[in-house]
Structures are given as C-alpha cells and as structure tokens.
C-alpha cells in the first residue's frame, strides 16, 4: 500500500498503540499523532516512539489525517465521533478498535450523518489483560483476526484502504454484519470475561479470601487472566452488548445447572464423556483442525 502521510490515534492504549507500531513497522505511515485522556500514558506513547506528537483534542489529531483510528472504550464513541464530524475532511477515513459493533455503528451514523461512509467499523480480536501504551507492541495484530462490519454506504475503495491498513499490521481481515459480530463475540469473549470476573469477585468477597487464593494454582491463574482486563473497557462492552450477553449468560447458566445435576448425582460416566468431548473440541480448535463430530449436539 502507499504509505499514509498522517495517521491519528484517538486512545493510545494496547490496541491504538499496537496499530500505530504495526503501521510504522510495515513502513505504512509517515507521521502518527495521538490523543488521550491520561498525560502519563501519552508521555509513554511518545517515549516509546508509538506517536510523533500529542494533540490537544481529537479534532486537532484528525486535522489533515488520511486515517483516524478510534480506540477508546466504546462508550466514548458518540462524543469522539461527534467532535470529529464537523471538521472531517473528505480525504479522511475513520476505523475503530471497538469490541462491540452494533453500538459503534449506531453512534457513527448519529454523529457523522452524511459523512458516515467515511467510517469503516473494525474489531481487531487481539485483546490482552494488559492495557495502555506500555503494553502496545508492533506484532500484536500479527495473524490476528480483524472483523470489519461495513456500512452499506462504505465505498469499495474505502473498505479496501482500511482493510489494507489492518493487513499492514499483519492481521487477517474478514467481514460480517454488526449483529453477527456481536452475537459471536458475546459467546466467545464477553461471556468468558464475565465468568472470570464473577469467580474472582466471589472468592475475593469471602472473609477467608487470603486462604483461598493461597491454594490457587496455575489453573486458576490462567482461568482468571481475563479478570485482570481493563475495567472501564469491559464495563462499556457489557453495557453495549447487554441483550446478547444476557442471552449468553442464560445459556451458560442452563448448561452449568445440567453439570450441577450430574455432579450432585455422581454421574461419573456421563461427566467423563462430556469432559473428554470438551477437551477434544478445544484441542482440535487449538490445532486448527475441524471440530470432532458430536453424537448429541444439543
């Protein structure tokens, strides 16, 4: 791709910072301007060479930019996009790093109006429990999936230009509707985060919490890794995707109730069968192989 002259990053955290570093590493941009709420984080972004310059506002960052990445928690999108709308130049494309897409599309339409064709929604599926510019790295998006949820008004050219930027960072770009995206991610990302937060919260709320944690080992550590994720970001995701997330919590709770009944009844043979099928499915997924056939997909 032709290198971009000027890229604006609004929210220079894990995703925003890694996107900037990825573009730079690929020689895909000349100048990166960043803006963010936390001066300490912005200084880190400058010191680490993620950005060349700190702007005072989203508008200042976006002025003259070929591409703007909005990578704040999703609840800030209406304000950020509202600030950009009046000054958005025709040459500027916007993409984003939001983990939910229906709310982002709604916010973009409302804020940008006739300019919404310049906004190409994206979700880089590459989170981590670390956040901020200090956690950003140039290869975070390498071989990671980036889902675009295009608007009908996006031109083919705008879509390709935005896709090329994500590909320059090493990502594999795919497309789907915002609804399909939010349903998939509710199940494989938002639900597990809620489950992990709930476990840590439950254990930490006990009077003898210290003793419980003292006997937790590697399994607990990995299971709860995502409970060290960014609280504000996950607040916004839970609120934005709450209808689909509640559906997933309900499905999961029903499944857990089945497990409870099997455990209570000491149904060892059935438990072993389920555990083995779960292990086989997970191992096939990790190996990049088709999932094993299930006799009783229910």
């Amino acid at each position: 791709m032709t290198p971009l002259d000027r890229v604006a990053i609004i929210g220079v955290g894990l995703i925003g910072g890694s996107f900037a570093l990825g573009l730079r590493a690929a020689g895909a941009c000349r100048r990166v301007v960043g803006v963010g709420r936390d001066p300490v984080n912005m200084r880190t972004a400058l010191e680490r060479g993620i950005i060349d310059e700190v702007a005072a506002s989203p508008q200042e960052a976006a002025r003259g930019a070929d591409l703007v990445l909005v990578a704040t928690p999703v609840a800030q999108f209406p304000v950020v996009l509202g600030a950009l709308a009046p000054m958005l130049e025709p040459k500027t494309l916007i993409t984003d790093g939001g983990s939910t897409k229906r709310d982002v599309v709604t916010a973009a339409r409302a804020a940008l109006g006739a300019k919404s064709a310049q906004f190409v929604p994206a979700h880089p599926i590459a989170g981590a429990e670390k956040s901020g510019a200090s956690a950003a790295k140039s290869d975070l998006l390498q071989n990671r999936r980036v889902v675009l949820t295009p608007l009908p008004e996006n031109s083919a050219e705008a879509l390709e230009r935005v896709a090329d930027c994500w590909r320059a960072c090493g990502a594999q770009v795919s497309r789907m509707s915002p609804e399909e995206h939010d349903a998939l991610l509710a199940a494989v990302s938002h639900l597990p985060h809620v489950l992990a937060y709930a476990l840590v919260d439950e254990i930490a709320s006990r009077p003898e919490a210290e003793t419980f944690f003292a006997h937790a080992a590697g399994g607990f550590r990995d299971f709860t890794r995502i409970a060290s994720s960014h609280p504000e970001m996950w607040r916004d995701i839970c609120v934005a995707n709450r209808d689909l997330l509640v559906d997933e919590i309900d499905r999961y709770s029903a499944r857990l109730a089945k497990f409870r009944a099997l455990v209570a009844a000491g149904e060892g043979a059935r438990l072993e069968q389920i555990f083995a099928a779960a292990r086989d499915s997970r191992d096939a997924w990790l190996a990049g192989q088709p999932l094993p056939a299930r006799k009783n997909r229910e």
Copy 2:
C-alpha cells in the same frame, strides 16, 4: 535426607513421573519402580529415565519399597490400597497425589486397617492440562504447595519422612484437615475446571460451533486451558468432592445471577467497580501481596 533405596510409583503420569524425576534430581532415591495401566505410557516412563523398571502389579512394585506414591485417579485408590494392604512391609510408607482428600482418607482407612498409620495423604497443587509420563518434569513441584492431611495415627517420624520427600522435589509442605483441604480446592480448583468444561461444552454443542471457535482468541484459550485436563481424573474429583463442589457451583451461580442482573440493567458504574476490585484482588494475589480491603465483602 538419607536417600531412599527403593521408591514405587503407582500411576506414572504427570504427578507420579514428576515426583520420581524430582527425587532423582535431588539424589534422594536409588531405584524407582513403576506400574501403570497403559503399556505405551510405561515405555515412555522407562525411556525418559523416570523409572528403572516396570512392575507387573502394585504389589510387585511395592515389595521392599521404602516409599510408595499412589498417583492414579482417586477412584482407583480402594483397589490399589486394597492390593497393597496384605503385603505392606512395616518399613514402607505410602503417600499419594490425589486432588481430593476426604475420599482418599476413607479409602486408606478401609483398605489398610491397622496399617493406615503408614499412609500419609498428600496433595501436590501442581496440575497441568498435559498428562502422562511424557508431560512429567523434574521441576514441576519446585516452589509448589503440597498439602498433607495427616491421619491421627501417623507418627511424627512418618510425617517428617514423607514431608522430606516432597521437599526434596522442591515443594513447600503445609498441613490441614481433609475437610478444609477439600473445601478450599472445591472453590479454587474444582469449580474453575467445571466452569471451563461447561463453557467449551456449551459452545461446541452449537450447530455453528466452528464459526464461534474461529472467533475465539487468547482470552478464550487461557480461560479454557483447564478444559483440556484429564477427563478421567476430573471425573473422579467431581464425584469424590461432589457435596462441596455442588455448594461451590451454587454460590457461583448466585453470583453470576447478580452479574446478569447488573448487565441486564446496564448498571455500568457498579460493573466497573466490581471489575476493578476483581482485577486488583487478582493482581495482588499474583504479586504475592495482601488482598486489597473490600468495602463490602458479602
């Protein structure tokens, strides 16, 4: 400690194999005899130098041994200990690697009768999702906690000798009652395993399971790592500890229902507060620091 002349390992898997390798690395034993159900696994154990010899039965392995480690899934303990009881020499101590302790103590009392003082129950808290002799390693127990749940009839000398063997493998040995052990582990180990198995089972049971897995990332991978654990071992744990595990599932389900209500109501501020508290607790635990004070421990 004085090196042991002969150690018998019954079940040469991750724990049994790592215990043998740890003792060897510390120069704490001269000869290791192993026994197990799977000939392929036993050949691996021989080839990797975990054991010197394969015995045809637990009795043959235990003959003349100073120490026997029983490291099979816990449901096999009644049969294994029953086989050892008649031929158990006065000089031989037995310890185990079982993840539950009330059932193990009951099985030991029933099988060993007057010889139960020779059995010192132990749980090395050092699992992994890999199993078998191929996964064993000499440093698996390094700095890991091993909980002894002594029987009143254990002599101080027997306790110290068994503790010394675990310490020779690098473990930190502590003591508690079988009841306390099983309650702690139900919360921080058995429950998370059930939760992870339930999530994978739920997703894998959907007709569009491939698409869901295709959009899962690192968070899902780590959250479900323990769902790749040994199905038979976890079957036995769930059945052996079912009363306490059901209590934990109920506590967790109640907490999850609270989370569901907060998500459904879009209670962002409260969710962020809970997520931040969970993250702070987890991070403090990982850093080996005291848990932060909670305003409303409930």
